[in-house]
């Protein structure tokens, strides 16, 4: 059922992009993430799997400090990107988020044209000096989002008028347009049909060339298809973290085995 991903062998030589050590997350009195330590490699797709409420999305949101927008949320421990602590007082979370892009569960295009959706990030960060450069960035991002051919004739049409799968690829292109180093994806395919899912998965594999990609997913098939490394979360703990092929064929922890064979969930 779980094929060994055909690209496993490519992961041999990689360097560590994100290093998390003893991360604790509290929502008020609720201890949501307990002692999670993980090293995420560059140019690799890392999948977070686990049952609902296990903390995988919460941990993902720690990586670009999106949890800062929630008042009652408190994060302890160290998270380093390229060796720099992102929870250091000198780090501006806004700058960090430009470096660590994020794609959400539900496609959330802004109520603007397709062009303006993509140009939003580059405009904010002053990445283009003139219109021609901006046009160029937009085209490149849309091409990388594998949606250019579908929208090139209607860049001024509202982004909300696209289909669900197109919207999600637009959101991925929007995240790519700011040229992040890490791309976080929180169940990016859960609102999509199988065809759109296949397109997005193909896209994720291509994005690996340039970024470290971290994807949260409920679908174990998807984790097996797109990722090279998989982390299994359960009740706020990181139970097991290893090569995807190992997790799905020969897990060490009995909980992991129970989960991937469908006995707990």
């Amino acid at each position: 059922m779980y094929d060994i991903p055909h690209h496993t062998q490519e992961t041999a030589v990689t360097d560590v992009k994100i290093k998390a050590k003893d991360v604790q997350v509290y929502y008020g009195d609720n201890h949501a993430i307990k002692d999670v330590s993980v090293e995420i490699d560059n140019n690799t797709v890392t999948a977070f799997i686990g049952p609902s409420g296990c903390g995988k999305s919460t941990f993902l949101r720690c990586l670009n400090r999106m949890n800062d927008t929630i008042d009652i949320c408190r994060v302890e421990g160290d998270i380093l990107i390229d060796g720099d602590d992102i929870y250091d007082k000198r780090v501006d979370p806004v700058q960090l988020r430009a470096k660590v892009g994020m794609v959400f569960q539900k496609p959330n295009p802004f109520p603007k044209s397709i062009y303006d959706n993509i140009a939003y990030g580059p405009r904010i960060h002053g990445m283009a000096r003139n219109k021609a450069e901006l046009d160029d960035i937009v085209e490149r991002a849309l091409r990388r989002g594998a949606i250019w051919d579908e929208v090139k004739d209607r860049l001024q049409a509202p982004g909300t008028g696209l289909s669900g799968g197109q919207q999600q690829r637009l959101c991925i292109a929007r995240a790519v347009a700011t040229e992040p180093e890490v791309l976080l994806m929180d169940e990016p395919c859960s609102a999509l049909d199988p065809i759109a899912t296949a397109q997005v998965e193909e896209l994720i594999d291509e994005l690996r060339q340039n970024y470290a990609v971290v994807i949260v997913t409920h679908s174990m098939q998807q984790a097996a298809r797109v990722s090279q490394k998989t982390a299994f979360f359960h009740l706020g703990n990181l139970v097991e973290y290893d090569d995807t092929s190992k997790i799905f064929t020969n897990p060490e922890d009995s909980r992991t085995e129970s989960y991937i064979t469908g006995r707990i969930g």
């Binding site: 670009n64 999106m66 927008t69 008042d71 806004v94 700058q95 960090l96 988020r97 430009a98 470096k99 892009g101 994020m102 794609v103 959400f104 539900k106 959330n108 295009p109 802004f110 109520p111 603007k112 939003y120 990030g121 904010i124 960060h125 509202p158 909300t160 959101c171 929007r174 995240a175 700011t178």
Partner: protein
Amino acid sequence: MPLLWLFLLVLAIAAGAFVLARTRVLTLSGQDRRSLHSLPIYYGSNAAMKSAVPALLMLVLWLLAQPFYVNKTVSDMIPDSAIVESSSRNLVLAEVRRAADGLDLAVSTGGMTEDEARNMQADISDVTTRLSDAGAILTSEITRPVLRAAQQFRVLNSTGYNIMSVMVLLIAAAGALWGIRETKPDFRARNVVEQGIRALLIAAASIAILTTLGIVLSLVFNTIEFFRLYPASEFFFGTNWAPSFSGRGGASDLGILPLLWGTFYISIVALIVAVPIGLFAAIYLSEYAGPKVRAFAKPMLEVLAGIPTIVYGLFALLTVGPLLVRVFGDDGLGWMQAGTAVMTAGLVMGIMLIPFVSSLSDDIINAVPQSMRDGSYGLGATQSETIRQVVLPAALPGIVGAILLAASRAIGETMIVVLGAGAAARLSLNPFDAMTTVTAKIVSQLTGDSDFASPEALVAFALGMTLFVITLGLNVFALYIVRKYREQYE
């Protein structure tokens, strides 16, 4: 029979029908309640509905129709000769009604027996004194035809009420019987009651719409009457507002332009004050304020909306006006002659409108989905960038709606203008001049003691109609804008 008693009797019959129908269906069904189509309460309600609704409708229709019939009959009784010079048939009819009321009063206080009150041959002067003794208000000595008419009026009314009572009670009883007879276990009482409820809802909606229509019609007829007396072109394009009241004589200038200009000038000043402050307050409350601040500040802001406008008027007259005079008056910059000015009224009206703008905008901003904000933050946007470029554009249609609603309020506002802006109709660009608005002038035209049929009084209706058309246009425009943006964003 007094109306209240009749009403209560009908309700009692309906209640009886309810109990009987419910009992009947329970007996018919025996032990097996599940053989009933509806719950027992529906059978009862059906019978009660069928007895009360037609009876009460009959009651209302009769009460509406009877005065017309009685007036018509009595009016025919009065010969033209009885109508004294310089008075009209209507005035004589009013006299008849007063005499009839007097007779009622006299009978009820015991000053007269019922037979005496009905006596056609009664001595007129005797009747007059007895009526006065009983405390009835009479303008002059009653004439023979008036007394006759008054007596007839009483007779007609009392027979009318008696027939009505009998009819209404009969209908109620017949309805109750019908409803009870219908009550069988397989009768679909629930559906019938649902239909009845639907009819009730439709009636409520129609009353709201018909009332609006009635208001418009009452304005329209008086407006047409006004334009018969005063040329429309001078009304709409006249730049001078100088009504002369009947005592002084002379022709009036009734040009609407100075009033419209005052209305718009004051409204614009008010909106310039209210829109930025209200909108910024809404943004702060919905995006930046913590739950504690919000729980405290939002109700505080909404208290502003609860202040009566006359209090705002006093604030304008006693505080804001003198304050402005001190700065812009002769001692200061010399632009302002008195405390009453466009600026005074506009500022205070703006303060009044802040809660409208802020409260509505706050709700609309809160309705923008969190996923939009997350998307923007995820791209490395700051909070203010997110608000300016994502949240506000998404909320724009609603905010425009809120602003136009505030504009309608500003245009319709009266008390603040009366106390804050003065009463001088004037076309001027200086915001420190006294001006006045359409609404304030409607008040002053109708509260004077001028003849109601004169153009000086009737102009109020034309002003009201113009104002109505303007606010209607504003609302249509608001809907258009909202719909246009919504198409783009959804």
